[in-house]
Amino acid sequence: MEDGGSTRAELVTLYRTMLLIRRFEERAAELRQEGFIPGFLHPYIGQEAVAVGVCAALGAEDVITSTHRGHGHMLARGADPRRMYAELYARVDGYNRAKGGSLHMIDTGLGFLGANGIVGGGIPLATGAGLQRKREGNAGVAVSFFGDGATNQGAFHESLNLASLWKLPVLYVCENNLYGEFTRQDKHQPMTDIARRADSYAMPGVVADGNDVLDVLRVAREARARAAAGEGPTLIEAKTYRHRGHYEGDMGAYRPPDEVREWLARDPIVTFGAWLVERGSVPQGELNEIAARIENELEDAAAFADASPHPQPDEALEDVYRDTYEGMALR
């Protein structure tokens, strides 16, 4: 691992954010088991270094589209865990006022344009967001997170073609976690390095170690600099692994135990924590304190969600359109 010039405080923040995501997801799984969360959950556990590394390279004016596995991206962008849990609990203080849930969470204030229930659905949207940023004079870039599965969608190929043709400021971040839903990569695409798909579109394609937050950060910084300078998009392939199944409840039995063991031994948070300690600058005690503070924060977030009211049934009829007719959903 190379610190790439990050300050001690920045390094500690990277660790803290990764751990926040990990514990947010583990608790969410428990809360769902206990019946507090009604919908689907696709845990980000194991992939934390990707979201955190990329988001650390971004500026406030940058925007993000995410996936069905979006909690990590949103937290890495600085979202409020209280409002996230409230949304998962389907309560009115949730980010989307209980209309979206895990698959559609949005925080426009953070430039987080949304998780997405459609595999690959966010890719054209980020391309358009990049187009708009370019129209505004390259005031920021757009980032699209997606998985290996999404790179078989037309939306991916059409978007990369368009973005490269128009030199749009977009970072296409593929989190190759080796599985598209239940299907291993070698059974859903005929190559291993997704970054090579960039060659078809005459754009840089870069592989990052998706379990090394500093490597992801380095690659994302370079890509962002190119985009902001008007040099166009980059495809980043971050190789990583999903510690759990596709969704909470999927045991992932289709994965060979040796493979799982091997990747668990490369846990991005454990690895980075050990590096911080070994490097001498961060005592283990400080990491323990960080972990304790996260527990308190998440305890508070879950309590906030639980205290938030349920929506009134008639709220279902609101928000279909921005302008309403006679206060009703448009007929």
Partner: protein, 330 residues
């Protein structure tokens, strides 16, 4: 007042809206340098530059997605689908993304994109270049759907669509492009949900939109010669639909014929019929009739195409049958 074509009216609306708001920009296949396959966007790239009138690859999902994505950040993208049939390739961006953004975000975000869908038959365009797919879109909550039949309405409604805060599907009919009509020198945006009575009548209301308005008017002329007074009702926008206008018309006539090119089964006419049956049943003196497209793809040969698309004779036949049966039913 000037006499200009439907295509020219659309071009003027785009021109004036681009002039008014620098956030308005256009994307589509061959719309820039070539001015569009039907010439609707002619001269706009020359005037506003290639940065605001973007020629795109043949890549419907990406271009509609790019328009939607830009609109999330305040761009006012107007995207052309050269043939509405090609919307099938962009359906995720329209139906799953743009339409639902405002709702699923709990009102945080909206996608105020305008999608121009070039629609309807054109004469031997066959099955993949002739469809009328409006019912796909009227069925999706979150989309507004507009279907103008005259140059003046085309211009006014496109201005409204571009300024509207929600995604709008704007259907424009190929066979109307060269039709001329009077357009005021300065025209204001026309609020959605206001029907137009094209021709007044007292015996039967014929609801028709897009090119079928012309056929409905011809049918009304045939009927007039027989002493039947037909009212032609052009809703102009399908979502929202002018229910009160329909009620007022049925109060005058008590009979309803619905006309569209799209296949009868599951077409928007079924929705209009349901509105009339559920809300205005007491005004009806006869069953509701539909003179709509056959439940087939659009065929190639002129004889076959004419067989499946409604024409003035079939519309008049449907209306006449209602009037003749009317007293017996009541």
């Amino acid at each position: 007042m000037r006499l200009i074509s439907y295509a020219a009216a659309i071009n003027e609306a785009l021109n004036e809206e681009m002039e008014r708001d620098s956030e308005v920009f256009l994307l589509g296949e061959d719309i820039g340098e070539s001015g569009g396959v039907f010439g609707v966007t002619k001269g706009l790239q020359e005037r506003f530059g290639a940065d605001r009138v973007l020629d795109t690859p043949i890549s419907e999902e990406a271009i509609v997605g790019a328009a939607v994505g830009a609109s999330l950040l305040g761009g006012r993208a107007v995207v052309e689908l050269m043939f509405s049939d090609f919307s099938a390739l962009a359906m995720d961006m329209i139906a799953n993304q743009a339409a639902k953004t405002h709702y699923m975000s709990g009102g945080q975000l909206t996608a105020p994109v305008t999608i121009r869908l070039v629609t309807g038959y054109v004469g031997s365009g066959a099955a993949q270049h002739s469809q009328s797919l409006e019912a796909w879109f009227t069925h999706i909550p979150g989309l507004k759907c507009v279907a103008p039949s005259t140059p003046a309405d085309a211009k006014a409604l496109l201005k409204t669509a571009i300024r509207d805060p929600d995604p709008v599907c704007y259907f424009e009919h190929k066979l109307l492009y060269n039709r001329k009509g009077e357009v005021p020198d300065a025209i204001e945006p026309l609020p959605f949900g206001q029907a137009r009575i094209v021709r007044e009548g007292s015996d039967v209301t014929i609801v028709a939109y897009l090119k079928m308005v012309l056929d409905a008017v011809e049918a009304a002329e045939i009927l007039a010669e027989e002493g039947i007074s037909a009212e032609v009702f052009d809703p102009r926008s399908l979502v929202p639909f002018d229910r009160d206008g329909l009620r007022r018309s049925l109060e005058r006539t008590g009979r309803l014929v619905i006309v569209h090119e799209a296949p009868t089964r599951g077409g928007f006419g079924a929705e209009i019929a349901a509105i009339a049956a559920e809300e205005y049943f007491d005004l009806l003196r006869a069953p509701i009739a539909r003179a709509c497209g056959a439940n087939t793809p659009i065929p190639y040969a002129p004889e076959l195409e004419n067989r499946v698309i409604p024409d003035p004779t079939r519309i008049a036949d449907a209306a006449r049958a209602l009037v003749e049966a009317g007293s017996a039913v009541h």
